[in-house]
């Protein structure tokens, strides 16, 4: 009985270690190809358009409503404690620009584009299309992974900036309609308190999130096994791991940025 439990535990540890090693090899191979080889710009642009267009309505809407609910909560709390809605613009903009827009955008893109990538590459793996790439003289890392990696690096920061603006716009809508805060006061709050380094703090994080979501999605796709069921598992796994890692790495990225004074 105890032997079985230990055996199962040991197998899981070995399997996780093997998977981590394979992920590290894929990352190394990706970075190696990017330094030393021709980049498939056509494929990269296709991915930029696909990821950007697929995700932008969802990320914008998510940010818009996040801004609205932030303004609603901030205004209500502020009224409760100070009897008037103070610093709504400041709280909404800081929360969005430094934390919520980068994290929410990465999570939504992981669910939308990350899942699509894992499913597409997983299907290619189980139907031997990835093996076919090898036989036709192409390395799948170069043809499939690098364009998606670069596309994420371009698209996620852009989507995050759009989310910053749409979120703040949502916040202003509620601040004005619900609490009667004039535009000049709302924007004055933001401009007076927010500095470029606050924006950079959130912006830099998006590159970490882009790297992790793209690599996890591609890794889960190209290591898919077992037909349609395997594709489903790989897709779910890609989304869940990406989301958890975004939240975990957000903490560490924030800690590092704070240590460098970008806060």
């Amino acid at each position: 009985m105890i032997g079985d439990i230990l055996g199962t535990f040991g197998r899981r540890v070995l399997s996780a270690s093997e998977e981590t090693g394979q992920f590290a090899l894929l990352l190394r191979s990706t970075l190696g190809w990017m330094v030393g080889a021709r980049i498939e710009w056509r494929q990269t642009m296709i991915q930029v358009v696909r990821i950007g267009i697929e995700s932008s309505p969802v990320t914008s809407m998510t940010a818009f409503f996040t801004g609205m609910v932030l303004a609603l909560q901030t205004g209500a709390s502020s009224k409760h404690f100070f009897n008037e809605p103070l610093f709504v613009g400041t709280v909404v903009s800081f929360a969005l620009v430094m934390e919520l827009a980068p994290v929410m955008t990465a999570i939504v893109v992981a669910g939308r584009a990350g899942a699509a990538i894992a499913a597409e590459l997983g299907t290619m793996k189980v139907t031997e299309q990835i093996d076919a790439l090898y036989t036709l003289g192409t390395d799948p890392v170069r043809y499939l992974v690098i364009p998606r990696f670069i596309a994420f690096m371009i698209v996620l920061p852009l989507l995050t900036v759009i989310s910053d603006f749409t979120g703040i716009a949502g916040g202003y809508l509620v601040a004005h309609a619900k609490y009667g805060i004039p535009a000049t006061v709302f924007w004055h709050d933001i401009v007076n308190n927010m500095e470029v380094r606050h924006f950079i703090h959130g912006f830099l994080k998006t590159f970490v999130f882009a790297a992790i979501v793209s690599m996890v999605s591609c890794f889960k796709g190209v290591t898919t096994r077992g037909g349609a069921e395997g594709v489903g598992k790989a897709t779910t796994s890609a989304v869940v791991i990406s989301m958890v890692l975004v939240l975990v790495l957000d903490y560490f990225a924030t800690a590092v940025l704070n240590a460098f004074g970008i806060t």
Binding site: T123, M124, T127, E128, Q129, D131, A132, Y134, T135, L136, G137, T138, D139
Partner: protein, 265 residues
């Protein structure tokens, strides 16, 4: 010439190839036959470098694929080959002509302006026309196989490896594919390995046949010799008999069946 010696390949605890020795002479078509899971496709993938053998050597025109280290060397080695996958493995997102010419960009110096014409020529060689702009999803199973075959020959390889080219096709289409393999061999003088379960096709296309069983080569001979082989494993396979020495899978099935019967009782 392809010369494999003592090729061993395992996946985890499962040993698939247990010391395969096989030689394919230039210009001949060798058909590899054998039951499911006996290592035929794994051997094919070792030959083209998709799998790296645990031990043994595979020499192709004097180059040992097991010793190739860099991606560039492996890519250069693969230029000699065309590979027809079991399900075709056409790229879903591309049209037929983009599929056929995909490898030309990486394997040859042919200018891209000529790709479309080359695609049409390759399609004509496999008996198809006017489908250049179709997507794979719009094609029947037989057409997909033929387009995949057109893709395999587009870069004018010296060797073609066919992985179960007639699987999943109706008997007439299977015969059409077998004829195509013969035609290509005669027209282009290509050396080929055909992995197949389809004995009719194997007899038709093969110059020689090799019978695999549990990761080893049981017999290599001319098709006429294979037809009258006295080896019990070969005999059972070519006659398609359930009774005989090849019974591992059947025993598993019987054991499962008897346990189900016990469960019922």
């Amino acid at each position: 010439m392809i010369d494999a010696e003592s090729v061993v390949k395992s996946f985890g605890p499962r040993t698939i190839l247990r010391g395969v020795d096989l030689r394919v002479e230039t210009g001949e078509t060798l058909a590899i036959i054998g039951g499911s899971g006996c290592g035929k496709s794994t051997f094919l993938k070792c030959v083209i470098g998709l799998h790296r053998p645990d031990s043994g050597t595979i020499l192709v025109d004097g180059v040992d694929v097991t010793r190739l280290k860099t991606e560039a060397d492996i890519a250069d080695y693969r230029r000699r080959f065309g590979y027809l996958f079991q399900e075709g493995a056409l790229f879903d997102s591309m049209t037929v002509w983009e599929n056929i010419t995909f490898g030309l960009r990486y394997l040859t110096d042919i200018p891209s302006g000529k790709y479309r014409r080359i695609a049409s020529e390759c399609l004509a060689l496999v008996g198809l026309k006017d489908i250049e702009d179709f997507k794979p999803a719009e094609l029947s199973g037989g057409m997909k196989k033929r387009v995949a075959l057109a893709r395999a020959i587009a870069a004018q390889p010296s060797y073609i490896l066919y992985d179960e080219p007639t699987t999943g096709l109706d008997p007439i289409m299977s015969d059409v594919i077998s004829d195509l393999i013969l035609d290509l061999q005669q027209q282009l003088k290509i050396t080929a390995i055909v992995v197949t379960h389809d004995m009719k096709s194997a007899y038709k296309v093969a110059s020689r046949m090799a019978m695999f069983h549990e990761g080893t080569v049981r017999q290599v001979a001319h098709p006429d010799i294979i037809r009258i082989s006295t080896d019990p494993y070969v005999r059972q396979f070519v006659d398609g008999l359930s009774q005989g020495p090849i019974k591992m899978k059947l025993k598993e099935f019987e054991a499962e069946g008897s346990s189900l019967a016990h469960g019922k009782n």
